[in-house]
């Protein structure tokens, strides 16, 4: 990893770290508070993979329309930076963007460009393609991004979406957070093709691969991919290798399941954790330790306040059950 990536300002590096630290700390706080049983929603933790959505959302500078999977905590926070509404939704409070009706698997804040999170693998992908179509037609200047895992590429609808987006020449970004497992089933047990990138290449979209585990590397790649997609009017496929640190669902580790080797995972990924690496990069390029520490403290305070606000907020009254099945004109 280079000391300072070419073309990335210190401000951007700092911003990336802040986003990474926010996503990581938000989840560390979930781990801490989950046993209190006040957040009663299945957690699919982003921990370890945050750098992918942080890099892509940062690269698009707020102009992403995000369509995410159930593993969407990091994408939601990278896109919205809104810990108040994040925790309110997890705690099931009326102040959540979905009044708690969505929870962890259906996080959405359309007003901030996070359009949906979906609990059925790959279902969000074609929705992003339709959003790209609308963005093009309505000239919104926004870029639709689908985040999904490598498991989604087992699904027919991924290929339907890839084919359609390429055929219609839509500048949509397909971002594969490739952690190599569907729950605990490894890719080799699910896919007959060796390389995701090579399988996608014939569609006439731009294909990018990154296995650096580095937020700035992915940031650069995503900027280039978004610009090219928009200029050439065709989709981009980004295969970003990453590692899920925790179990598929829940807030614990899962080494006892034995489907992956702890030593190898630590060596290849956890020992070069993207969040810690970005912190080190800031220090190495001259940002003062106290400055970094102050930023971290600010993030933690923000998170803690958001949790306090969420706990203090109201739960929905019973009659809210029937509200919002249909949209009513304001």
């Amino acid at each position: 990893m280079s000391l300072v990536s070419e073309g990335i300002s210190k401000a951007v590096s700092t911003g990336l770290y802040k986003s990474l630290f926010l996503a990581r700390q938000a989840e560390e706080h979930i781990v801490k508070h989950y046993p209190e049983n006040l957040m009663r929603t299945p957690m699919h933790m982003s921990m370890g993979q945050e750098f992918v959505s942080v890099a892509v959302c940062s690269a698009l500078e707020g102009k992403a329309d995000v369509f995410a999977s159930y593993r969407s905590h990091a994408a939601f926070l990278a896109q919205t930076h809104d810990t108040d509404r994040f925790f309110a939704e997890l705690y099931g409070r009326v102040s959540g963007p979905g009044e708690g009706k969505g929870g962890s698997m259906h996080l959405a804040a359309p007003d901030r460009g996070h359009f949906l999170s979906s609990g059925v693998v790959a279902t969000q992908i074609p929705v992003a393609v339709g959003a790209a179509f609308a963005n093009l037609r309505l000239k919104t200047g926004r870029t639709a991004v689908a985040f999904f895992g490598d498991g989604a590429m087992d699904a027919g609808v991924f290929w339907e979406s890839m084919n359609s987006a390429s055929l219609f020449r839509l500048p949509v970004m397909f971002v594969c957070e490739d952690n190599g497992f569907a729950v605990d089933t490894p890719r080799a047990a699910r896919q007959a093709f060796n390389s995701l990138a090579e399988a996608v290449r014939p569609f006439g979209c731009d294909v990018y691969e990154d296995s650096s585990g580095d937020v700035e590397s992915v940031y650069q790649l995503a900027r280039h991919a978004a610009e090219t997609a928009s200029r050439e009017r065709r989709p981009a496929f980004l295969n970003i290798k990453c590692c899920r640190y925790l179990e598929h669902v829940g807030t614990g580790e899962d080494w006892h399941w034995g489907y992956r080797n702890r030593e190898i995972t630590v060596r290849d990924w956890i020992a070069r954790d993207a969040v810690l690496a970005q912190r080190k990069r800031l220090l190495d390029c001259g940002v003062a330790e106290r400055e970094v520490a102050a930023m971290e403290e600010e993030v933690i305070t923000t998170i803690q306040r958001s949790i306090e606000r969420a706990i203090a907020a109201s739960v929905p009254s019973p009659e809210r059950l029937f509200v919002g099945v249909f949209h009513a004109k304001a």
Partner: protein, 346 residues
């Protein structure tokens, strides 16, 4: 007033809405190609261009997700399935995504998506080109479901559906496309969720769904010759259902036959029957009767097809049994078939 057939009424609703609102577009497998979906998309691509009327890959699942994405980002898509059987490929998107999107955003976002699906009997269509499946979709909260019977309703209800900010599935029976009646030229809405009495009567209420209203009308003519007065109620919208109209009618007649063009078992007729039994219990003079497909896959050969599908004769026999009448001789009656089309008016 000028006359228009059902197919033309559907086409005119789409064309006028596309003219009025440039966010509206229509797409689906074969939409702009040779057959033009029974003529319903004729001329739209020429008029509005390939960006607003276009063909798609045979990818119903992705293309329905596509519609959801376009709808929540500001467009107003109309997706078309030339057979409802093909819409099953999109069930994941309709049931897991489209139906609950509004709810999981706390009702704040709108999903102005219309999905048109062609249903019903054709000419030897067999098991995979002939379904109806109303109840598969009325079962799901968050979806509006309509099945207009008359050309005037088809135009007004599809217009209302396109202007609605929620997902609407529009079922169109292919034998109705030939029906013709007076249809206003200017754009208008027939509100969703409001049923209609197609024919007033006093002895028996027949609640007809889609094509079965045509059969009910013929049955009512036959029964009228024996002095039996049939009231035909067309719910038009299945979800949300105009319950009061049905309850009020059965409250007056005390008898109810539900004529569905779908399987009876776990079908929409079961929902209607439950409604009538719950709300009209003390007023019923006879048990509610249900008419629908035989509980088999749809056969292709005509002789068995005739056994599979209910028609006016089925309704007549049902009413006769309900009233303890001798079955009339129907040998000289001319029932509808693919060759003997119903051409309206209602």
């Amino acid at each position: 007033m000028r006359k228009l057939d059902y197919s033309g009424a559907i086409r005119e609703a789409m064309s006028q809405e596309m003219e009025r609102d440039e966010r509206v577009f229509v797409y689906g497998i074969g939409v702009p190609t040779f057959s033009k979906i029974f003529g319903t998309t004729q001329g739209l691509q020429e008029k509005f261009g390939p960006e607003r009327c276009f063909d798609t890959p045979i990818s119903e699942d992705a293309m329905t997700g596509f519609g959801l994405g376009a709808a929540i980002r500001g467009l107003r898509p109309i997706q078309v399935h030339i057979r409802v059987d093909f819409m099953l490929l999109a069930t994941n998107q309709l049931v897991n995504m489209v139906s609950n999107y509004v709810y999981s955003t706390g009702g704040k976002l709108s999903v102005p998506l219309v999905v048109r699906a062609v249903i019903g009997r054709g000419w030897g269509q067999g098991a995979q080109h002939s379904k109806c499946l109303f109840s598969n979709f009325t079962h799901i909260p968050g979806l509006k479901v309509i099945a207009p019977t008359t050309p005037a309703d088809a135009k007004g209800m599809l217009t209302a559906a396109i202007r609605d900010d929620n997902p609407v599935i529009c079922f169109e029976h292919r034998w109705l496309y030939w029906a013709e009646e007076e249809v206003p030229e200017e754009p208008y809405e027939v509100p969703l969720g409001v049923g209609r009495i197609l024919r007033p009567g006093k002895d028996v209420t027949v609640v007809g769904l889609s094509w079965m209203n045509v059969e009910a009308r013929l049955a009512a003519d036959i029964l009228a010759r024996r002095g039996i007065s049939i009231e035909i109620v067309d719910p038009r919208t299945l979800a949300p259902l105009d319950e009061n109209l049905i309850v009020e009618s059965v409250g007056r007649t005390g008898r109810c036959v539900i004529a569905d063009c779908d399987w009876v078992h776990s079908g929409f007729s079961a929902e209607l029957s439950a409604l009538v039994n719950e709300k009209c219990f003390g007023k019923l003079k006879a048990p509610v009767r249900r008419i629908g497909f035989a509980h088999t896959p749809c056969p292709t050969v005509r002789e068995l097809e005739n056994e599979f599908y209910p028609n006016a004769k089925t309704i007549v026999r049902s009413v006769e049994e309900m009233l303890s009448l001798e079955p009339a001789n129907l040998d000289d009656e001319d029932f509808f078939s693919h060759e003997r089309r119903f051409r309206g008016p209602f």
